[in-house]
Symmetry: C2
Subunit: 318 residues, 2 copies
């Protein structure tokens, strides 16, 4: 799978090969690591956009329209949907899925949905690896579409160079609460479905809070869109481009990527150690310690300390 | 902090001491571990209920009413709110916070909000440790209130013996999408705000999907409530009690707790190793490797493999 011909086909955006390569990444075995190592030198050229927000905000429609916009500029687009409510990942109703199929059949667009079933922690690692692969496959733009409420989804959105947080007019009430999470990651806000009631109040609430609490160098812009009618999409794309340019001019693009890379390296270290541990430590020992803990003879902290010592002893060959 | 008098006061539900002890857990230093070790033998008696669902579903009001119900039965209640939109954790508007204050001043109720700011992964560990503490402090019922969308919040909800997923009549559209996440963790569903339009459609959609896709031994019950008017609360409490009894009769209470404990021990092992690594590996080395990776000379996988070797060498005293 890591032979030259396979890599050549990935680089040529051969959809079947790209798709097989991502499946390999999802299975996360040794050959996936080999592949990522071989492709690494080809990465770093794509621009990564994260689109996140609550369920029902219209993230997929927005992704769809934004993709069409980039296609008109002749840019190729790779989409990674890790959103259980996204029609890309098969979560939504049939109607939505059909609506999406036009970009899906475009040879310059690659769509991959990644399941949230199972460990989401692992998923964020794999989603970013899939983006690396699409990057090496020379897609110009990579879009992560995630439901932005949990930490793992935020992790994926944060892996982007520009993160767009999508809200709806009805989000007004929860904007106050949102301060804690979404605000820190948003470079641009979108109020989608802006033909609905409440848009002005939400816009005012959002801009006010942004001006009061913003901790970034630049206050994030707020764009109104009606994605289903293609309204505001160009404005959004222009704002993304403005953000990209400002990152480059301030040298933040590189330093942000550097910081994200450090986090990724440490996370992967963590992952490697976990793999080692599950190879080294017998499940019967874990069971035994858990039993002692349930019986009140050990605390769970002591149980894990015992396992750590076991791991070290094995490493030392004892 | 781990002296006998301190532990005695925790056991006596002295609110100030319990509060200080949780602050200690939040700071997660060595003395917190010491405290948890000393208190461990007193845990396992409280019944743990998780209340989760999307923002705005009325989880806090429901928690509030359920707490009042248990208080009328003379049971003491500890509440851990890890919900940025919860009035308990200060996310919501002032009105809500005042509405909650009556249970807050009850000597038989302990409310603690835990911030989602910072690492949510760490938070789920601390929330469960706080529950252990409240358990040792002899609270009869412990309620976790979390926003159930992200994985980490789900982790907290899963730490409960009975998990209640709260929806609203408007959730109808997203029930299809919900299959992926919330359904697997719910023991009981609540449709709150059931005086609103759409409740029948949502009830039908939910029960249909539950009967089609349920993989548990028993199909979860769906209860309609209007928490703000105290409607349906007793039914919910009865259903929770029924679930508790069925867990005990089928020996699942113990085996579920055992499985959760194993996960916790392994997670903590992970945490201990991370702490060790950050103590052992110089940040300058991480920086150097990240630079080589950005330059395309290493893949991030190779960078983390080099760190793993470094960690092992240090352990071996090289």
């Amino acid at each position: 799978m890591t032979d030259e011909n396979f890599i050549k086909k990935v680089r040529e955006q051969d959809k079947k090969t790209v798709s097989r390569a991502i499946t390999l990444i999802e299975s996360s075995n040794g050959s996936a690591n080999q592949l990522l190592k071989s492709l690494h030198k080809f990465t770093g050229n794509a621009y990564r956009i994260g689109i996140t927000g609550p369920p029902g905000a219209g993230k997929s429609t927005l992704t769809n329209q934004l993709t069409r916009y980039y296609r008109r500029l002749n840019k190729t687009v790779g989409i990674i949907a890790v959103d259980p409510t996204s029609p890309f990942s098969g979560g939504a109703l049939l109607g939505d899925r059909i609506r999406m199929s036009d970009i899906g059949s475009d040879p310059g667009v690659f769509i991959r949905s990644m399941a949230t079933r199972g460990s989401l922690g692992g998923l964020s690692k794999k989603a970013v690896e899939a983006a690396d692969l699409l990057d090496a496959a020379q897609y110009d733009i990579i879009i992560f579409e995630t439901v932005g409420v949990g930490q793992s989804e935020l992790d994926i959105a944060k892996a982007a160079d520009t993160t767009v947080v999508v809200l709806v007019p009805e989000s007004g009430d929860s904007i106050q609460a949102m301060k804690a999470g979404l605000m820190e990651i948003a470079d641009i806000f979108v109020i989608n479905k802006s033909d609905r009631q409440g848009v002005d109040a939400t816009y005012t609430a959002l801009t006010t809070i942004l001006h009061l609490y913003n901790r970034k160098e630049v206050v994030p812009e707020v764009i109104k869109t009606v994605a289903s009618e293609n309204k505001g999409i160009e404005e959004l794309a222009v704002e993304i481009e403005k953000h990209r340019k400002s990152l480059i001019e301030s040298n933040l693009l590189e330093s942000n990527r550097m910081n994200k890379l450090k986090e990724r390296i440490l996370e992967n270290l963590n992952y490697l150690i976990n793999e080692e541990i599950s190879g080294i430590i017998e499940t019967s020992l874990i069971h035994e310690l858990a039993e002692l803990t349930l019986e009140g003879k050990l605390s769970y902290v002591e149980a894990s300390e015992l396992l750590l010592n076991k791991y070290k002893q094995k490493l030392l060959g004892k």
